[in-house]
Amino acid sequence: MRIDLNKLMKLNKMAKEGAQNVAYNLSQMLGIDVEMKVAKIEFVDLSDVPDVIGDREVIGVYLTFQGLPSGFLVVLFPTKSAKKITNLLLQGIEESNGDGFSEMDLSAISEVGNIITSSFIDGWANLLNSEINISTPQTVHDMGSAVIDPILIQIAQQYDNAFLFNSYIKAKNEDINCELLVIPELEKLMEAIDRL
């Protein structure tokens, strides 16, 4: 595969477009100032990804997207941040119940994950003028590296490497952050940036 610098610049534009949408929509939803700290693209060995994420405990929201491009997406919330988000969203609805996560907590996190995801993907769809459909999100509470593992396996059936769109989202005044990882299918991604 050959990729020219010009295409890499286009990829970067795509990442930024998605990230800007996320920050805006998330600020609206949570009523706090949210910023996208990093929006970077890396060409990675799949086998390097788990170590980058580490074994820390997270709430992961996972989904797939179909269209131009297709691929996999996961939002990782460190448990502390997840707890803060549920407190923000479920204020007055649910009593805080210590360290664990109730069904309602998880569904609130899933909703935030959904906003992040659809904002990001909508940014791409707008830029590419294409239709991209998003699956129903699934939420899982586990170690980060284990959450990402099934996604890497899916890609590994065809490839050993991937473009990883990695964004770090942070609330300005609250101790809330999360990480967004998007891995498009390589061929579809190339097809998509040819459109730009």
């Binding site: 699934q138 586990d142 284990a146 590994a156």
Partner: protein, 153 residues
């Protein structure tokens, strides 16, 4: 002793009483040892290599033979090899992730049988991740979930 990390799609064999560590979801951690000081841990992603000869650590059907060969080079007692495995979970229930964990486990067991390696213990399936620490010399395998021990094999 500080554990040595085995990366995804890799394996490590040791003859110096090491602790090897890895974290798996739907992937499978395979610990093989001869009980006489030589042992190794693999972290496979997929059941079959389909003819590929590079990245042997990525597939069950290439990683296990490669480990056995390396243990043989270290003068391991091949006839006494035993195995313990962990992982192969189904982390999500999306149709696209159709039981890859289960397929991984099945294939690992099949290859172990083929090589006459006795499967001593396993902690597999379910829907959660596992951190595995494998003691190459004793064959002890400790399975943790977010730092809490959930199984000792």
């Amino acid at each position: 002793m500080t554990p040595v990390r085995v990366k995804m799609a890799e394996y490590i064999v040791s003859n110096s009483d090491s602790i090897l560590k890895t974290t798996v979801g739907s992937c499978v951690a395979i610990g093989i040892y001869d009980g006489n000081g030589i042992g190794g841990l693999a972290h496979i992603m997929l059941p079959e290599c389909n003819g590929r000869t590079d990245l042997v650590g990525k597939f069950a059907d290439t990683a296990i033979p490669a480990m056995v060969r390396e243990m043989e080079k270290m003068n391991a007692d091949i006839s006494r090899l035993r195995a313990k495995i962990a992982g192969g979970a189904q982390m999500f229930t999306l149709p696209s992730s159709l039981a890859i964990g289960e397929r991984n486990i099945e294939k690992v067991k099949k290859i172990l049988r083929k090589f006459g390696i006795k499967l001593i213990a396993e902690d597999t399936g379910k829907n959660h991740g596992r951190t595995v620490e494998f003691h190459t010399s004793s064959g002890r395998m400790v399975v943790k979930r977010s730092e809490k021990i959930i199984a000792e094999l």
